[in-house]
């Protein structure tokens, strides 16, 4: 039995690797995607374009604006002298924010009153707007601290000392790149297995295979293994790139990571075979892959946190293997989480994988005879 499975697996791998176009699909896109997305997918804003509208001639406003100009996050794009000029700048997306200082700014401050800084932000992307406002607040708080200290004012009752664990500089890349390991592995292994059976069905070679002494279970395993092996190889490559190219710190151990990878691949391949056994044509298989892949990515916590979803959708994410593997990859990379805190992430993936494989096997047999 083992020899037959291995023979089938070798045939499958040859079929994938021998076709130059599918070979290209396997190797090229994941590398390109890793490079492009690794650099592109970041929530950190580096050049917040802003305009200054300063009606105050005093030194305090100049001091505050110098802090904006000195910040690496902001880049001054325009200066305006009237209210009218503000709207077109924001409307046309020339600037993300306009900083407005009224005429009495310095005077108010010198008299010990509170002065106000008006900030208009383009809210078309509310996440960007929130980040911009956070940056503004950080700058203003720094200014306030210096002003209070310099003018002998009483400090507030308590100070905040904020520290960020595991990612002290809040680099989004440390979050996204390990996520890409899960994302790209899922895409490759799912596509490979989902389309493999449908292609043979359409070409008519599936019937020929049924005429051989191979049993349905053996065909199933032979079809599952290439996706598993190629997926594991790709994941390893991407992991190495994450560590040595993107310099994401790898603080955990190899074993907990690979145990997670194998259970994840099991579930991905299981889902792929299930799609494959349900579809008659390649188009249907592709559509099925799509219908699985897109929600799996959106509802995984890859880009936006699961905790923000409505409760009903959160329950739905428990069916998504990528949800668990994402946590495994990220915690092994950054938090060095030990084995015992990861068990409840491994077994759901294994269960999903086994259930999917059993259903796929049952569907295969029913469709064959």
């Amino acid at each position: 039995m083992l020899r037959r499975i291995i023979a089938l697996m070798i045939k499958e791998i040859i079929a994938i690797v021998a076709d130059p176009k599918s070979r290209m699909v396997l190797i090229g896109p994941p590398i390109i995607q890793l490079m492009v997305f690794g650099y592109a997918a970041t929530f950190d804003l580096e050049h917040v374009t802003y305009a200054v509208y300063n009606e105050d001639r005093g030194p305090a406003s100049r001091d505050l604006l110098a802090r904006f100009e000195g910040s690496p996050n902001f880049s001054l794009t325009a200066r305006v002298d009237s209210d009218r000029e503000v709207q077109p700048l924001i409307d046309d997306r020339k600037v993300m924010a306009v900083v407005h200082i009224g005429p009495l700014f310095t005077e108010n401050l010198l008299r010990g009153r509170s002065a106000s800084l008006q900030v208009v932000v383009d809210g078309r992307n509310s996440n960007t707007a929130m980040i911009v406002l956070n940056y503004v607040r950080t700058i203003v708080m720094g200014f306030n601290r210096a002003w209070s200290a310099g003018h002998g004012e009483r400090p507030g009752p308590a100070d905040l000392r904020v520290r960020f664990w595991f990612n002290p500089n809040l680099d989004s890349r440390w979050f996204i790149v390990p996520g890409l390991v899960a994302l790209l592995t899922l895409v490759v292994s799912l596509l490979l297995t989902a389309l493999s059976v449908a292609r043979e069905r359409e070409a008519g070679t599936f019937d020929q295979m049924l005429a051989t002494p191979l049993r349905p279970v053996e065909i199933l395993i032979g079809k599952a293994l290439p996706g598993f092996v190629i997926g594991a190889l790709e994941a390893t490559f991407i992991l190495l790139m994450a560590i040595f190219w993107f310099h994401v710190p790898f603080r955990g151990a190899i074993l907990p990571l690979y145990l997670g990878l194998f259970t994840f691949l099991l579930s991905a391949v299981g889902a792929g075979l299930m799609i494959s056994s349900l579809s008659v044509t390649q188009q249907q298989a592709l559509l099925g892959t799509f219908l699985f892949l897109v929600p799996a990515i959106i509802l995984s916590g890859f880009s936006t946190p699961i905790a923000n979803m409505p409760p009903a959708v959160q329950y739905l994410t428990y069916l998504n293997p990528m949800r668990y593997f994402l946590i495994v990859v990220r915690s092994v990379f950054l938090e060095a989480t030990p084995f015992d805190l990861l068990w409840n992430l491994y077994w759901p993936m294994a269960v999903i994988g086994v259930v999917a494989l059993v259903i796929a096997g049952w569907l295969f047999r029913r469709r064959m005879y």
């Binding site: 650099y39 002065a115 809210g123 929130m130 203003v140 905040l160 960020f164 188009q283």
Partner: protein, 383 residues
Amino acid sequence: MKGSRPTNGQARRSLMRLSGLMKKEAHQIVRDPSSIAIAFVLPVILLLLFGYGVSLDAEHVPVAIVVENASTETAGFVGGFQESRYFRPTIMHTIQAAEDALMRREVDGIVWLRSNFAREMLGPGPASIGVIVNGVDANQARIIDGYVTGVWLKWQERIALQQGRPLVIPVAVEQRIWFNAEMRSRNFLVPGLIAIIMTLIGALLTAMVVAREWERGTMEALMVTPVRVQEILLGKIIPYFILGMGGMALSVAMAVWVFDVPFRGSYAVLFGSSALFLLTALAMGLLISVVAKNQFVAGQIAIIATFLPAFILSGFLFDIGSMPTAVQYLTHIIAARYFVSILQTLFLAGDVWAVVAWNSLALGIMCLLFLVLVRRRMKKRLE
């Protein structure tokens, strides 16, 4: 024949052939309902999933508040967290317990009031409040940091009022967020999602159908008929264009009625730019299928070249201005980028011509380019 001006009779015959082709395509669409499913069922499912699944509004963030020495002062501070809808605080008494909870991912942050909090606060210097946030998800960490700062600022004001010494904050930030005052992330995510979903659907609709004809050899059969190449192309595009516009209308209706996203632009501009975008997406699908020749590869390219690039590089979620310069250039060849910008503006800001015109121009150029490329590839095959 080639190059000569078409006479009236030729034009009529061409129209006849075209309508014949479209009829054939329409029959195929009705017979295999998968393309109708792609055009109408897919957008509904995807928009529901995305609309509810993608959110950046954090609420009820679990935090541990370590109170080492309970007093009325600490209770006042903790009260700020208990009232806030952004937090779900758990009171703990030792920092070890809180750190364990953070490691087990039960809480996202820790607020630490040391045993000398009340004494320091009432005494000379400011007391120090330790805040630890799990920084793995950098964006979420930043949002939590902002929320904690908000609670802390409010608490300071309240304390100052109680002590009868109004707190003078030297510079107070007065923020105005245009277009989306309540900062609902759904308001910008849903229009962006429509652009992504339509990219997918446009490419999927055409990528598979033409590749299928090549694979089955029916394209050669079409080629030997008097039908011209551009007629074949038009005959493929028009039916799927109509299907796609139906899906688009459905998506916009859902955005407005289901997700309560305000629509401040005009429907005429929306219609025009959507038509342009859909043509571009369909042309891209055609190009993929003409290049790939077989469905297997066409399908894989359609998945790889549409959904993920549109998701990550279109600026719908990640700010394009913050990407490295090389990647920023790359985003210019992502059609969704232009449509995301148009849709976000039309929905939230209104008809801003500077945004709509430039992005439409870019879409028009891309569309033409794709069509020319498709046309050239098709001709080569005939020779």
